[in-house]
């Protein structure tokens, strides 16, 4: 093994301390790795120690290797790691040094709701339970909607809506042979209170009932004012 030349600093900025046993003596990483692993002899070590005393970059590199070695061996680093601000500054410096990969225009900011994965996300049986619950909810909603709204389309009229429910007295008349109405008067409207079924035709008749059906002794003192206050527009 060749003697280490103490005056010759290790690799990086100066020629690396030579070792005949090593095929890649010029690689500073290899020499440093050997140093950390305690594979250098006394002379080589002296040379490195001298170099470390003079080269800041070499010290930093050496510390990094030591931390890596400690982490790989499964223990906690015996050396104190870099202070956070130094680490962040380093990351920033490296980011600035990164080449710009794409010269495309600035991407449009899109707000995507981000949510952390649930704690039981990885548990398959919970996914099964969630799936069954979703299916049950969809069936429940569909049952209600199909029960009272065979089809939907048409415009939406402003004003109060009528809550629909199946007839108590009679069975539904609509059979499977009857055509599905493309111009039905029932519409599903989203309101602040949730989705509500509205029958536009029924609301027209309600307005007509209020206009011409208010045959009441209470009409003059209160009924007319009440009807005129409703947000629904009277029928033309």
């Amino acid at each position: 093994m060749n003697a280490v030349q103490p005056n010759q600093p290790p690799p990086g900025t100066r020629p690396a301390p030579a070792s005949p046993n090593r095929t890649v003596v010029n690689e500073p990483g290899t020499e440093l790795s050997a140093l950390i692993d305690g594979e250098l002899d006394v002379h080589e070590l002296d040379g490195w120690l001298h170099a470390l005393g003079q080269e800041e970059t070499l010290r930093v590199q050496c510390r990094d290797y030591r931390v890596i070695s400690d982490v790989l061996s499964g223990g906690s680093p015996s050396l104190r790691s870099e202070p956070p601000h130094a680490f962040v500054a380093g990351v920033r410096a490296r980011l600035l040094a990164e080449p710009v990969l794409d010269a495309a225009p600035t991407p449009v900011a899109v707000q995507v709701p981000v949510r952390a994965a649930a704690a039981n996300d990885a548990v398959f049986r919970w996914k099964m339970v969630a799936g069954v619950a979703s299916l049950a909810a969809v069936m429940a909603v569909s049952w209600g909607v199909l029960g009272s709204a065979p089809s939907s389309s048409g415009g939406v009229q402003p004003g109060p809506q009528l809550a629909l429910m199946p007839s108590v007295g009679g069975a539904p008349l609509a059979g499977p042979t009857q055509p599905v109405d493309p111009a039905a008067t029932t519409v599903l409207v989203n309101t602040a209170q949730g989705p509500v079924l509205r029958d536009v035709r029924l609301e027209q008749l309600l307005a007509e009932h209020r206009q011409y059906g208010g045959m009441s002794a209470l009409q003059m003192p209160a009924g007319f004012l009440r009807d005129a206050t409703y947000p629904a527009e009277p029928q033309r």
Partner: protein, 351 residues
């Protein structure tokens, strides 16, 4: 009030027999007293004999107030889950009364009324609807005629005084005598009789709908000439005048095989021009028991539109739909759905 009525009843009917029975034994008298109280309560609820005014007198007083007083205020209407409000101006000169209602909820709309003439301005669409509403001129004349059958189906119960919109008001409860109609609780301003609040009551007194002034200025300086000016100023508005064609159920081929107690036929008409997009215009046959009204809308059955018989409700207004052969009936009114089903079962084709 109930307690007072019960005491007066006892003094008139139960107290005297109880006194004669005292010699026979205190327990017998006490038993009779308790029995008479128990019996008297439902009887009194029916007769309402202890009320200072009859139901007709109360209704007439409320009418007169709106015919003789000027006022302005803010009115709130609550029906089901919906709530809306409006600004009201009211003025009268003994022979005619005028009213202006400006909605504060939803699309802006102004309604101006002169007796039974009504014009509704919709500024957003620059349209105005001009109508004549017979129902507004019908009462209170009807209250004075023998055909007024309100006392037969409604009782009255006075419930003390409460303050509404800054005014002291008498609380009057109009109690139905059967399950075919709803009750009403009315707050009538103490001095004038003006209705300042009204609730429609369902079973067990549940409030189905209510209308109330939140702020009211009586004898306000409302000028009739200004309201007239507003009513006539239709410049820039497209006017619509719905044409009602008066008819009779007989002429249209309909009759009720059995009448619904208390409800008398009031009018029957069809609306011209309405049927262009929805088939023939429906016939509207209106019934009233004096306080509640029911409209029967009959139109040709359309399999595409009339897919399902159903009932609907909004506040105190119910509706029931039913297929009657080649026709489709929609019964609607401020009555329980059971009443509407009675109408639906009674309506039949005569040809």
């Amino acid at each position: 009030m109930n307690q007072t009525l019960t005491a007066s009843h006892l003094s008139g009917f139960a107290a005297a027999p109880a006194a004669t029975l005292l010699n026979r034994g205190r327990w017998t008298a006490a038993l009779l007293m308790a029995l008479s109280v128990w019996v008297s309560q439902p009887v009194l609820a029916q007769s309402q004999s202890g009320s200072a005014r009859s139901v007709t007198e109360w209704l007439t007083r409320m009418h007169e107030a709106s015919r003789q007083r000027a006022y302005m205020g803010t009115l709130v209407v609550s029906s089901g889950s919906a709530m809306s409000s409006s600004r009201i101006w009211h003025v009268c000169d003994g022979t005619q009364q005028m009213e202006r209602v400006e909605t504060l909820t939803g699309a802006p709309r102004t309604t101006v009324r002169r007796n039974n003439e009504v014009i509704t301005f919709v500024p957003e669409s620059r349209t105005a609807l001009v109508e004549k509403r017979e129902s507004l001129g019908l009462f209170p004349e009807l209250l004075r005629t023998p055909s007024n059958q309100i006392p037969e189906f409604y009782g009255v119960r006075e419930g003390g005084s409460e303050r509404v919109a800054g005014h002291l008001a008498d609380v009057v409860e109009i109690v139905p005598k059967d399950a075919l109609r709803y009750g009403y609780r009315i707050w009538s301003e103490k001095k004038t009789g003006l209705v300042v609040k009204m609730q429609t009551l369902g079973e067990q007194g549940a409030v189905l709908e209510q209308v109330a002034f939140t702020e009211l200025q009586l004898d306000a300086p409302v000028r009739m000439d200004k309201l007239k000016q507003l009513m006539n100023d239709t410049k820039g508005y497209e006017l619509y005048k719905p044409v009602l064609r008066k008819t009779t159920p007989e002429a249209e081929g309909w009759r009720l095989k059995e009448s619904v107690p208390g409800f008398l036929p009031m009018s029957c008409h069809t609306r011209e021009g309405q049927g262009s997009s929805t088939g023939a215009a429906p016939m509207q046959w209106v019934f009233s028991d004096g306080l509640a009204s029911v409209s029967l809308f009959v139109e040709p059955y359309d399999a595409a539109r009339h897919t399902q018989e159903k009932t609907a409700v909004m506040g105190a207004t119910h509706s029931v739909t039913r297929r009657l052969g080649a026709h489709w009936l929609t019964a609607m009114g401020e009555v329980p759905s059971g009443t509407l089903r009675r109408f639906a079962q009674a309506l039949e084709r005569t040809r």
